[in-house]
């Protein structure tokens, strides 16, 4: 049986632009996870992250006709997600409980938390990342979690490639100074 290649993002975007529902669904399936986790890292709430993902995809469908360069779809989608998440944080800033930042999420069912290898150090690192300036944090997370190129990060964060690199370097340097090389070495060591 011949192997059928999955259509590229570009093809799906072009089809979705014409109103193809299967193409749109395929795009959602392909990008729902990274987008969900991108939002979740900011809002720390499953329901809110789900809502943001839905809103992000709806906005994508609303504006996909205006997307001139279809090859930046992924960065563009992340950009929408980041903006929605930041807007949510801004609008709900007064309701954010400082103690909950970086802590276990109350809306997350306990059984849903995957039992991945965990350590106190990695949790400390996570909190340190949360404490970074927004641009540095976003750049670091897009680079590490989503493995975006700096060019794509620049698109996603509406900045330049050089600025993205500088932000990434500053983020790494700050984490290094906050946690100490020795501690980081312990975290990363197998």
């Amino acid at each position: 049986m011949p192997h059928v290649e999955a259509p590229s993002d570009d093809d799906l975007v072009l089809q979705a632009r014409e109103g193809s529902r299967p193409a749109f669904e395929a795009l959602v399936r392909r990008h729902q996870k990274p987008l969900y986790y991108l939002c979740f890292r900011y809002v720390r709430d499953h329901d809110t992250a789900t809502d943001l993902v839905q809103r992000a995809f709806i906005r994508v469908m609303d504006k996909v006709g205006e997307l001139r360069e279809v090859h930046i779809f992924r960065s563009w989608l992340y950009r929408i997600g980041v903006n929605l998440a930041l807007n949510h944080l801004r609008d709900n800033a007064r309701f954010v409980d400082e103690d909950q930042i970086g802590a276990a999420e109350p809306s997350v069912p306990p059984e849903a938390i995957a039992r991945i290898e965990s350590s106190e150090d990695s949790e400390t690192l996570r909190r340190a990342v949360d404490g970074l300036p927004t641009k540095q944090r976003m750049t670091l997370e897009l680079r590490i979690y989503d493995e975006l190129s700096f060019k794509d990060i620049a698109v996603a964060l509406d900045t330049t490639e050089g600025a993205a690199k500088v932000n990434f370097h500053y983020a790494v340097r700050r984490l290094k100074s906050l946690l100490g090389v020795a501690n980081l070495g312990k975290v990363g060591s197998p």
Binding site: R21, V28, R29, I58, H169
Partner: protein
């Protein structure tokens, strides 16, 4: 050959070195980069910072990750599409009404008392403005007679201003007459002329037809007679009597044209 394809001999600037290091290129992969880092403290520090990236990544990946479950990922696309359908249906339900025409819009606006009052005031103001400025320049017979000043100058203010015969008259004060202030479209006002003393009228007519005016009275003057016919009249009153209104108008036009 170096990792980046750069020729072995080409030097690497600090900017290039930092760019490559932050992009993830390891020092060991690029000979020129390695040489530069070995000789540049700033770039050496950047290289040291970047060595921590893999450790940071490993540490973050070790952190517990929330997993909503396969069922969630299976159903999320349907929920997104359902949201999209609702969104589209909602947009269709609130289709914008066709834009009203300008007259419709203005009609509705003018039904409100305050805008209607403003609009009425604006119309009245425009009417008043139009009426007061319709006679500009002064259409007919404006012979201004004002209070006298010593020397009784006729106003010869500027050529741009509408010219009129401005005889500043005061009993007992001689009124020098200067020609040239009769503008086109100006008529001699017989009533005003009648108010002048005979002597003054004579001076007026002398001024019109006398030597100072002789050069200015040219073809237009000659249309109704020679200049001698005027200057030789026994008195100014008789001269005015002899001149009918049409002649006066012609005289005025001639003066205006020549001046």
């Amino acid at each position: 050959m170096s990792f980046s394809g750069r020729s072995a001999g080409a030097p690497v600037s600090c900017e290039e070195a930092v760019d490559r290091l932050v992009s993830g290129i390891r020092v060991a992969e690029d000979l020129m980069l390695s040489q530069h880092v070995g000789s540049c403290l700033g770039c050496f520090r950047v290289a040291a910072d970047m060595r921590e990236v893999s450790r940071i990544k490993a540490g973050l990946m070790l952190a517990p990750t929330f997993d909503p479950g396969e069922r969630y990922w299976d159903t999320l696309p349907q929920r997104v599409i359902a949201s999209w359908d609702t969104h589209v249906a909602g947009n269709a339900a609130v289709q914008p009404l066709p834009r009203p025409s300008l007259w419709t819009w203005m009609g509705g606006w003018l039904r409100l008392p305050v805008p209607a009052a403003f609009a009425g005031g604006a119309v009245v103001g425009l009417l008043i403005f139009a009426l007061t400025h319709a006679a500009y320049p002064p259409a007919a017979g404006h012979l201004a007679v004002g209070a006298a000043t010593s020397g009784g100058a006729l106003s010869t203010a500027s050529s741009a201003a509408p010219r009129s015969l401005d005889i500043r008259h005061e009993p007992g004060v001689s009124v020098p007459v200067l020609r040239g202030d009769l503008a086109l479209g100006t008529e001699l006002d017989e009533a005003l002329l009648g108010d002048l003393e005979d002597e003054e009228l004579r001076r007026v007519l002398d001024g019109l037809g006398g030597s100072p005016a002789k050069d200015g009275l040219s073809a237009g003057f000659e249309t109704f007679g020679s200049e001698n016919e005027i200057t030789e009249l026994p008195s100014a009153v008789e001269a005015l009597d002899d001149l009918d209104l049409r002649s006066l108008r012609l005289l005025k036009q001639a003066l205006g044209r020549d001046l």
